[in-house]
């Protein structure tokens, strides 16, 4: 193209509406008549093709933010727009398939086999032949690194890592535009966790996914994310590429990334072993 690269880049965000647009979001949960505010005037945009990590302290409302994007929670105030529609419209039957979610504990149906679990959204469409559904499931299983012989096992017979993979395959079965991950590497050993990061990067690249991930794992964050959003004090205190977030002067950011824990991840960032 003859236009200068900078110009194209400058125009790109305006031309493409964000996949997720959160405006002035207030969330709260009620327990025993007491209302606790979790988010206050939270703003966040997620653009097509990003791999965004949401980080923050425990109980800081990261998972609630994911649930808001999924339309599982109702905003107290403000709006959450996903793929151009209000988030709560996503949960309606018939609009499934554009958003995939990997729940923290997999949320596999314990009465179904692996194959039935992954095939569930496809079978719900009613109208696809059984052998095509089975083939599509087997392809997705192999994409996430599950051997076909596991297809007829029950979730109770799987290890934690395999449950995560099955749940990921199920989240991917409808080829979603937006993939949400809640603590994808929690409960995995470091090797598995690295493997998962690799898998996530390749899926992100190959399937042109927009990924939003909640995690505490610094390795995962720096190995995969193109952008980081830090949720603290009930809103997004800083968001941007990893370097920009690290340069932000805030006690939480210093503590989270630059404490003893953060050093290894920082090292990784300084000497990247691969291009993110």
């Amino acid at each position: 193209m003859s236009t200068p690269a900078g110009l194209v880049q400058a125009q790109a965000p305006a031309a493409q509406p964000p996949i997720v647009e959160i405006r002035q979001l207030w969330s709260a949960f009620r327990s025993g008549g007491v209302q606790t505010i979790i988010h206050q005037d939270l703003d966040l945009n997620i653009a097509q093709g990003e791999l965004l990590s949401i980080v923050g302290g425990s109980g800081g409302g990261k998972t609630v933010l994911l649930r808001q994007i999924l339309g599982l929670e109702t905003p107290l105030r403000g709006s959450v727009t996903v793929l151009g529609r209000p988030a709560h419209a996503l949960a309606r039957p018939g609009s499934a398939g554009r958003v995939g979610m990997l729940f923290q504990h997999g949320a596999l149906y314990s009465a179904f086999t692996v194959l039935e679990n992954i095939a569930f959204p496809l079978r719900e469409l009613r109208g696809l032949p059984a052998d095509l559904v089975r083939d599509a499931v087997l392809v997705k299983m192999q994409m996430v690194g599950l051997e076909p012989q596991h297809a007829n096992k029950m979730p109770a017979d799987l290890s934690g890592g395999m449950i995560k993979r099955v749940a990921l395959a199920r989240a991917l079965i409808m080829d979603p535009t937006l993939l949400l991950l809640d603590e994808p590497t929690a409960g995995l050993d470091p090797d598995r966790s690295d493997e998962f990061c690799k898998l996530l990067r390749s899926l992100h690249r190959e399937l042109d996914l927009t990924v939003v991930m909640v995690t505490h794992d610094l390795d995962t964050i720096f190995e995969t994310s193109t952008r980081i959003a830090v949720v603290a004090e009930k809103h997004v205190i800083v968001e941007g590429p990893p370097q920009q977030v690290l340069a932000f002067d805030h006690p939480f950011v210093r503590e989270f990334f630059l404490g003893g824990r953060g050093n290894r991840a920082m090292e990784l960032l300084r000497n990247p072993t691969h291009a993110v």
Binding site: G127, Q149, A151, N152, D208
Partner: protein, 372 residues
């Protein structure tokens, strides 16, 4: 024609048949009503075409790509015109398409082994049930030895939940049964001119049989299922394992308080249900036969011996312990998955109600001379 409909245009070219794939080749589009039959026919018609053009496909996902790949007999056509993205997707499907694993067929040996597993399961039920009863007795002995250290808080909580909160529903059911029975009986007895006997019939049947059995069935459905589900969820969430690790005996802390609460609550609820039913019967008798309540009350004490009430309370206590033990038994056997939870709860309620009726028949036979 709708531009989005998945379809295939074929036209003959010098190189042979050329198939152009058009429309939206996504899971949702292919699964629309009637679509797949049309698409399958179109794929069949284009079968063996050496030239395939997928560049004009509006949107393709892995299911659409899989449909094409399967139609091509799982090999590349001679010429494929595709955008890089589409080619990558098709290559991924080609790379990962495998022969599906064949589900294992059951042979005679497997059936034999299944039979063995069934026998062992039945044996397991019997052994577990026996162990539960034995453990309950040992726990009761321990409680008698050091009553100060008993789980009294649990006990009172269960007593409230099993007994007190069941009072409205048992009263309602008992009252209505009493009204219906008295009304139906009054019509029969009037034909025989034996109006006054309604007190005897209603009194004996309600005090001795219906009151305790109704209360037991209601509590089996209400509290038995709750106990099974509660203990079952404790299994699913590993709370039972945590208890074991902390060295807390689950028989002493989980089973015994529930069994004792049931043993105490059940006779009281049975008497309460009987009273509600008698009240209903009394009102219905007054309205339909003109039998004054004062007569009803005085005749009742003459018609129904007090032994009937003791018998009713005694068997209610047995019902209570039985329901609690059956509920705990099924609760403790639940495996950590949702299906097992549902099955366990159902089995618990069905078994308790069946056992209540069986044991009631047993009581009727054994104590046939008492109170009549």
């Amino acid at each position: 024609m709708d531009e989005k409909l998945p379809r295939i245009d074929t036209e003959p070219t010098p190189d042979g048949l050329s198939a152009a794939v058009l429309g939206e080749w996504s899971a949702a589009a292919l699964a629309a009503p009637g679509q797949w039959l049309r698409v399958a026919a179109a794929l069949q018609a284009a079968d063996g075409a050496p030239v395939w053009d997928v560049r004009r496909v509006a949107r393709m996902d892995h299911v659409g790509a899989q449909a094409l790949w399967n139609a091509w007999g799982r090999q590349w056509p001679a010429t494929l015109q595709a955008s890089p993205g589409q080619r990558a997707m098709l290559e991924r499907v080609a790379q990962f398409s495998v022969i599906p694993p064949v589900p294992q067929r059951l042979g005679i040996k497997d059936h034999f082994l299944r039979l063995g597993a069934w026998v062992l399961r039945v044996e397991g039920h019997v052994v577990d049930a026996l162990r539960l009863v034995g453990q309950l007795m040992l726990d009761c002995v321990q409680l008698l030895r050091s009553p100060g250290r008993g789980p009294w808080r649990d006990f009172s909580g269960h007593l409230y939940r099993i007994g007190a909160t069941a009072l409205p529903i048992t009263a309602l059911v008992g009252f209505l049964i009493g009204v219906v029975l008295a009304y139906l009986m009054s019509r029969q007895l009037r034909q025989l001119g034996a109006d006054a006997f309604i007190v005897n019939i209603l009194g004996v049947s309600l005090v001795r049989e219906l009151g305790p059995v109704l209360a037991a069935i209601l509590l089996a459905g209400r509290s038995g299922s709750a106990i099974t589900a509660q203990i079952g969820v404790m299994r699913v969430t590993e709370e039972l394992d945590a208890m074991k690790v902390m060295g807390i005996a689950r028989g002493y802390r989980l089973v015994m308080p529930r069994a004792l609460a049931m043993a105490l609550a059940m006779p009281l609820v049975a008497v309460w249900t009987t009273l509600a039913a008698l009240l209903g019967g009394m009102i219905a008798a007054d309205l339909s036969m003109g039998l004054p309540p004062a007569y009803f009350v005085s005749a009742l004490s003459r018609a129904v011996k007090i032994a009937n009430l003791w018998l009713a309370m005694g068997k209610s206590m047995v019902f209570g312990v039985m329901i609690a033990l059956i509920a705990c038994h099924y609760g403790l056997r639940i495996k950590p998955n949702t299906q097992s939870l549902g099955e366990g709860t159902t089995a618990s309620v069905v078994t308790s109600i069946t056992m209540v009726i069986l044991v009631d028949a047993l009581f009727a036979v054994v104590f046939r001379e008492v109170g009549i």
